[in-house]
């Protein structure tokens, strides 16, 4: 028994390293695609897709400046905290048919908690930089976190509640369980509309979670000159860049796992390794599509909102859409 668990632990450690590496690479690659696509939609050529990698390597060899007013250990620790916490979430996310590496050790509620950690890392780093711009940025990030939590949790809880009604014996908040049972198959017409509304809610939360236009008030280039990140340079900035890339992967995978957990292998009558490869590729394609809709397209189609407008948008319209979705799903279950 002990030898098996030791072996299991070893597998998990190697798996964690592989996933962290893949998460970073895929995240940077997707960031490159996102920038290229946005550029094309804005009628410009845009940077090459490998640009985020080049940025990362360049930043790593640059000087790491710590401002005089900063609190050095917090200032330097914040980017590491942001990166580590976003990579940790990756370990809890299923890819296609492959269950999460740490399935059984945590569920989606844990993920929601972990999702706030990179943001908290940024807030702490911002406050520790001792710059008025970063200070304002950090305050805004906190306000944003408080604003988008409710809609995010609404979407997740609604899905979990529906699962608990259909399969009362299962651990309904486990992502592996949610991933294996798409919401669309469980609901009637009313619930279907509800699920669409929940998807819209999650799609609205994603740009906020990733600090992208229109919800990029904490970084706001033209107002705060980078806000939270204004004092960061060199290695620390590179780490924040990685954290951002990984967080993009996390949000996309979460959306895919919650709403589009379909696989392609059984349609193509594949099996074994081929099925696995096909599913992973299909998963990446789904992630790309979700990213295109939720991030690339949204960020070129809107102006940046002010922080009070961001707060209002999340607390009122988005929250109402989320609650409406929840109500429809409940109604659907009760009527049936």
């Amino acid at each position: 028994m002990t030898s098996i668990s030791l072996f299991g632990i070893l597998i998990k450690i190697i798996g964690a390293i592989v996933i962290a590496f893949l998460g970073v690479v895929i995240g940077l690659f997707y960031k490159g695609i996102d920038r290229k696509l946005a550029a094309r939609m804005q009628a410009r050529v845009g940077p090459p897709i490998r640009q985020p990698f080049m940025d990362f390597f360049k930043l790593m060899i640059k000087e790491n400046i710590v401002p005089q007013n900063a609190v050095p250990w917090i200032f330097n620790g914040a980017p590491i905290m942001a990166l580590v916490s976003s990579i940790t979430i990756l370990l809890y996310l299923p890819v296609g048919n492959i269950p999460p590496l740490l399935s059984g050790y945590g569920d989606i509620v844990l993920i929601i908690y972990l999702l706030t950690l990179p943001a908290i890392g940024m807030v702490v780093g911002g406050f520790a930089s001792g710059s008025p711009y970063a200070n304002v940025g950090a305050q805004r990030e906190m306000v944003m976190m408080m604003s988008y939590e409710l809609p995010l949790v609404t979407a997740v809880v609604a899905l979990g509640w529906k699962l608990s009604q259909v399969y009362p014996q299962l651990n309904i908040f486990s992502l592996a369980v949610i991933n294996a049972r798409p919401i669309w198959g469980l609901v009637g017409p009313l619930g279907f509309i509800g699920a669409i509304l929940l998807f819209i809610t999650l799609a609205a939360v994603t740009p906020g979670e990733l600090s992208k236009v229109p919800f990029d008030a904490p970084e706001a280039e033209t107002e705060l000159a980078g806000g939270i990140l204004v004092e960061y340079s060199g290695r620390n900035l590179a780490l924040f860049g990685l954290a951002d890339a990984v967080k993009t992967v996390v949000m996309m995978s979460l959306t895919v796992a919650l709403f589009f957990p379909y696989n392609i292998s059984h349609l193509l009558a594949l099996s074994g390794v081929f099925a696995l490869i096909a599913d992973v590729l299909f998963f990446l394609v789904k992630m790309f599509l979700v990213m295109f809709v939720e991030v690339s397209f949204v960020r070129i189609a809107f102006a940046r909102l002010k922080i009070d407008q961001v707060s209002f948008a999340y607390w009122v319209p988005v929250a109402i859409i989320g609650l409406l979705g929840l109500m429809l799903i409940v109604l659907d279950t009760i009527i049936v």
Binding site: A220, E223, L224, F302, K306
Partner: protein, 407 residues
């Protein structure tokens, strides 16, 4: 309750500013409690340089006061010299001047639209509008040989004629802008996020606009029908019907906010297109410049004595040049007052009580041109420090200077 404010400096170098200018803000939470303006970071001593050059050389210097108003400054300067020396500009020259000036307005307003989009975090607007701006720059290059500093103005007229073959090319560009205008209007006036960010933001009341002598689209957006082209028509504008545009033409109400300034600028695009079309139709034939031989012109100016003023409605508002000729090779005094100088003070009432997020767009909404505006920097020679002069100090200095230059 004791409000604890903190201060945020914007500038001299900041991503939202195109040119160096310093603002110091006292902020409570996200709200602006106090505004301190501290210009003077971009003074280049151009007027001093001008006093060591002859008037024809100054035209090129005036052109380089600002990169965007590179027709407005020489326009006003040439008028000032013509006024002082009593030179009459041939009619065709006047029409060509107006055409170039209006093309410049189109280019400036579209450039501004892009910057406004960028300040709002709406970069797509920036790329789309600056792409549309290329067409007018190409046309200006075709007509004058240069995209930015046209080098077309001359005392007594213009240096280049617009030939019959060139007119279809101008009409093509005007048609292009009639098409593009619909798109730009659609983006700016119908987009919900732009409306969210600009309506009731940076309000300048009619009273404040009058009291602080705002000029150009900034004052027109507050409902004051002030436009040099309408009030004191000069050059070919006297033949054309130019009416000052206020936002109520479009929306039926005047709020004096950033949104209204967008409306005014967009409507002025259409107005400029109409003015150029009228000019092309009515352009008389004949000479384009009063005196072709530069040596002769210089001799004439050397003998001239007197003062002259030139005013022009630049894209940003009224630009004013004053020249005093005193029977010498170089003018005794040359003074340029750019529109941004007038639009400096209105920033204070616009910014007070707004949020930090509004600073970039409110500052950009007057279309500031700091290079134009920075005409004076007071340095304390003893300690090398920049000092702030009170109204009393300035008045005393002015009295001294008036005594010095008027015998």
């Amino acid at each position: 309750m004791n409000k604890k404010t903190y201060s945020i400096p914007i500038g001299p170098v900041h991503p939202s500013l195109e040119e160096p200018m310093t603002f110091n803000f006292e902020i409570y939470g996200e709200r602006i409690e106090k505004v301190y303006l501290a210009p003077g970071d971009n003074h280049r001593g151009i007027e001093f340089m001008g006093r060591q050059r002859n008037p024809i050389q100054i035209i090129y210097l005036a052109e380089r006061i600002c990169g965007i108003c590179s027709a407005s400054h020489p326009f006003a300067f040439c008028q000032a010299v013509e006024n002082a020396a009593g030179i009459e500009v041939p009619e065709r020259g006047q029409y060509i001047r107006v055409i170039i000036a209006e093309l410049e307005r189109i280019h400036s307003h579209i450039l501004w639209a892009g910057i406004a989009g960028h300040e709002l975090g709406f970069d797509s607007v920036l790329y789309i509008s600056w792409r549309a701006r290329e067409e007018v720059l190409d046309l200006l290059e075709y007509l004058t040989g240069n995209r930015i500093n046209y080098g077309v103005f001359m005392i007594g007229g213009v240096r280049r004629d617009i030939s019959e073959e060139q007119i279809p090319r101008i009409r093509k560009t005007l048609e292009y802008y009639k098409d593009v205008y619909g798109k730009i209007e659609d983006i700016f006036l119908k987009d919900p996020t732009i409306a969210l960010r600009t309506k009731n933001v940076g309000v300048l009341t009619k009273e404040d606009a009058l009291r602080l002598c705002a000029v150009g689209p900034t004052t027109r957006a507050s409902g004051i029908k002030k436009d040099v082209r309408q009030d004191q028509p000069y050059s070919a504008y006297a033949d054309l019907e130019v009416k000052a545009i206020t936002p109520d033409v479009f929306s039926g109400e005047i709020n004096g906010d950033v949104y209204d300034r967008i409306i005014v600028r967009l409507l002025e695009l259409v107005q400029s297109i109409q003015i150029i079309e009228q000019c092309l139709e009515n352009m008389p034939s004949g000479e384009i410049v009063a005196e072709k031989k530069l040596v002769k012109l210089l001799n004439q100016l050397k003998k001239a004595k007197g003062e002259g003023i030139g005013r022009h409605e630049a894209p940003r508002g009224e630009v004013f040049h004053y020249v005093k000729l005193a029977e010498a090779e170089v003018p005794e005094i040359w003074k340029a007052r750019a529109p941004t100088y007038n639009n400096l003070m209105p920033w204070a009432p616009m910014l007070l009580g707004e949020q930090i997020a509004d600073i970039p767009i409110v500052v950009a909404s007057t279309d500031p041109c700091i290079a134009c505006m920075d005409r004076v920097t007071i340095l304390n020679k003893a300690n090398g420090r920049k000092d702030v002069l009170t109204k009393k100090d300035l008045h005393e200095l002015s009295v001294q200077k008036t005594r010095r230059i008027t015998p």
